[in-house]
Symmetry: C2
Subunit: 352 residues, 2 copies
DNA sequence: ATGAAAGCGCTAACAT
DNA sequence: ATGTTAGCGCTTTCAT
C-alpha cells in the first residue's frame, strides 16, 4: 500500500540536478532555464510526484488550512453556512477542517485547541460560548479568528465577528403579525442560546411597545436551560399549549424548528394554522418551505453569512483591517401567517 | 499577532536540558525521571507551549487527518453521514478535512488530490463517480480509501466500500404499497445518480414481478440527466403529473426530496395524499417527518453509514483486513401511504 | 543558472 | 537518565 512517496530528491537524482533546482523548477522560479524546467516537470509527472504539503507548511509557516467549529454538522442552518464558507475557501486554495461543538463549551475549546496545534491559518467559530472571561486563556491563540453569530454577551474585542441582526429580525416578524391585525402575540424561545434568544425577545418586546400593544408574561414561553437535551421541535411542540391557553393569536418562534414543533402541536390540538393561529419562524432553512402550511419566517442569508465570514478571515490573513459585520435578515411571507380572525379564534377557544 | 511560537528548544533552554529530553518528557517517555518530567511539563505550561502538529506529522509520517468528500455539505442526507464520521473520528483523535464535489467528477478528483497532497491518513468519498477506467490514474493514491454509496457501476476492487442495499430498499417500499392493495404503482427517479437509481428501479421491478403485478413504461418517470440543474424537489413536482395521468395509485420515489416535490405537485393538482395517491420516499431525512402528511419512507441508517465507514477506515489504518459492508434500509410507515381507495381514485380521475 | 547548506519543529536511533 | 545527531521533505539564503 505505502510504497514510499516520491520526493524532490528522487526527481533530482533522475534529472541529474540538485533538489533545490527541482524545487525551483516546479515552482516556476524564473532563475531556472525554461528547458530544464520543462524537463524536470516532465520527470515529475512521469514519477507521479505529489508535493508534500506538510513539509511545505513546516517551511512556509502556513498551512493553507482553516478550522471551522459549528454546533452540529447536521444542523440545517449551519450546514448551509459551512457550504458558503467552503465555497470561498476552496476558491482561494484553502482546505477546511470541520468540527462540531454540540453547543458545549468544553468541546468548543477542544476543537479550537486542536486547530491551534495543527497550525491552521485561521479559525471560524459559529455560536461561540467564549466570552471575556476566557480571553486570557485564548489570546495567545494568535490566529485570526472570526465569530459567527456568537452567543456571548460581551465578546472579547480582539476577535472579529459576523452577526445577524437578531433584534431587527424579531421586530420584522412581530411587525408582520401586527400588520395582520394581531394584538395578542406570543414568543416561543429557547433557554440555551442566551444571546440570540435575548436579542430576539428584545426585538419582540420592542415591536409590541412601539405599536402600543399589550404584553404579558403568559405570552412568553422559554424552554428550561437544562432541558435542552430534547430537540427544538419537541420544545416547540411542548411549549405551544401554554401560549394557546394564554390566548395569543400569533406566535413568533425563536427559530424554524421551534416553529415546526408549534405547527405539530397545533395539529394535535386541532388548531388550524393560519386560520386560528399565525406562526412565524426564524432562519429560513429549506425545511420551512416544505411544511404545511409553508412557514412564514425571518430568513438569514446563510450562504452570505458563511462567505462573508470567510472573506473577513481572508482579509485578516492578508493583514488588511476589517470591520465587524451585522447582516440584516428579511421577512418571507408564506402560509403560516394570516389576518387575525377573532371570531374563529374565540370559537376555537370556546370549544375547549 | 504572530509573535513566534514556543518550541521545544525554547523550553529546553529554560529548563537547562536538551530538546530531546523535553520531547521525551512531554510524551511521558519512561526514560525521563519523574522529577524532570514534571518540571518540564510545568515550564511548558507556563510558556503556553502548543506542540506543532505539522512538525510531528512530517516526522511521524502520519497526519492524524482524514479527508471526506461529499456531494454537498448542505445535503441533509450527507450532513448526517458526516456527523457520524466526525463523531468517531474525533473519538480517535483524528481531524476531518471536508470538501464538496457537487456531483462533479472533476471536483471529486480535485478534492481527493488535495487530500493526497496534504497527506491525509485516509479518505472517505460519498457518491463517488470514480470507476475502473480511472483506477490507473488513482491507484498510486496509496491512501486507504472507503467509498460510501458509490455511484459507479464497476468499482475498482482496490477500494473498499460501505453501501446501502438500494434494491432491497426499493423492494420494501413497493411491497409496502402492494400490501396496501395498490396494483398500479409508479416509480419517480433521477437521471444523474446512475447506480443507485438503477438499483432502486430494479428493486421496484422485482417487487412488481414477484407479486405478479403489471408494469408499464408510463408508470416510470426519470429526470433527464442533463436537466439536473434543478433541485430534486422541482424534479418530483414536474414529473408527478405524468404518473398521475398514467393512472397509478401509488408512487415510489427515488428519495425524500423527490417525494416532497411529488407531495407539492399533488397539492397543486388537488390530489389528496394518501386518500387519492400513496407516496413513499427513500432516505429518511429529518424533513420527511415534518411534511404533511408525514412521509412513509425507506430509512437509511445515516449515522451508522458514516460511523461504519469511518470504522472501516480505522481498521484499514491499522492494517486489519476489512470486508465491504452492505447495510440494510428499513421501512418507516407514516401518513403518506394508505390502503388503495379505488372509488376515490376513479372519481378523482373522472373529475379531470 | 545551479548547487550547497541551513533550517522549519519535531522524533528516535545511537551514543554515553 | 540524558545529550548528540540525523533526518522527515521542503524553501531559501548564500555561494559560485
Amino acid at each position: 500500500m505505502s510504497k514510499r512517496r516520491i520526493s524532490i530528491e528522487d526527481i533530482a537524482r533522475r534529472a541529474g540536478v540538485s533538489h533545490s533546482t527541482v524545487s525551483r523548477a516546479l515552482r516556476d522560479n524564473s532563475l531556472i532555464s525554461p528547458k530544464v524546467r520543462e524537463e524536470i516537470k516532465q520527470i515529475a509527472k512521469e514519477m507521479n510526484y505529489v508535493p508534500n504539503a506538510i513539509a511545505q507548511s513546516l517551511q512556509n509557516q502556513r498551512t493553507n488550512t482553516i478550522g471551522v467549529v459549528v454546533t452540529s454538522i447536521a444542523d440545517p442552518f449551519y450546514a448551509e453556512v459551512v457550504e458558503g464558507i467552503e465555497k470561498v475557501a476552496k476558491s482561494t486554495g484553502l482546505s477546511v477542517l470541520l468540527s462540531a461543538s454540540h453547543r458545549d463549551f468544553e468541546q468548543e475549546i477542544a476543537a479550537i485547541d486542536t486547530f491551534h496545534r495543527r497550525r491552521v491559518d485561521g479559525i471560524l467559530v459559529a455560536d461561540s460560548r467564549i466570552n471575556k472571561h476566557h480571553t486570557k486563556q485564548l489570546e495567545q491563540i494568535a490566529v485570526p479568528t472570526v465569530f459567527i453569530n456568537s452567543q456571548t454577551e460581551d465578546q472579547p474585542d480582539i476577535f472579529h465577528s459576523v452577526e445577524i441582526n437578531d433584534r431587527l429580525g424579531a421586530k420584522l416578524a412581530v411587525e408582520h403579525l401586527i400588520s395582520l391585525g394581531h394584538t395578542s402575540i406570543g414568543y416561543l424561545g429557547v433557554g440555551d442560546r442566551s444571546r440570540s434568544n435575548q436579542q430576539r425577545l428584545e426585538g419582540y418586546r420592542m415591536a409590541l411597545t412601539e405599536a402600543g400593544l399589550p404584553q404579558s408574561n403568559n405570552w412568553v414561553a422559554i424552554s428550561d436551560e437544562d432541558n435542552v437535551r430534547i430537540s427544538d421541535v419537541a420544545t416547540g411542540q411542548q411549549l405551544l399549549s401554554k401560549l394557546v391557553i394564554a390566548g395569543v393569536t400569533g406566535i413568533f418562534c425563536y427559530n424554524d424548528m421551534i416553529a415546526i414543533g408549534a405547527l405539530l402541536g397545533c395539529q394535535e390540538l386541532g388548531i388550524s394554522v393560519p386560520q386560528d393561529l399565525s406562526i412565524v419562524g426564524f432562519d429560513g432553512i429549506a425545511l420551512s418551505r416544505y411544511v404545511t402550511p409553508p412557514l412564514t419566517t425571518i430568513c438569514q442569508p446563510m450562504l452570505e453569512i458563511g462567505s462573508s465570514a470567510m472573506q473577513m478571515l481572508l482579509d485578516l490573513l492578508e493583514e488588511k483591517s476589517v470591520e465587524n459585520r451585522v447582516l440584516s435578515p428579511f421577512l418571507v411571507k408564506r402560509g403560516s401567517s394570516a389576518a387575525v380572525n377573532k371570531g374563529r379564534r374565540q370559537e376555537a377557544e370556546g370549544r375547549r
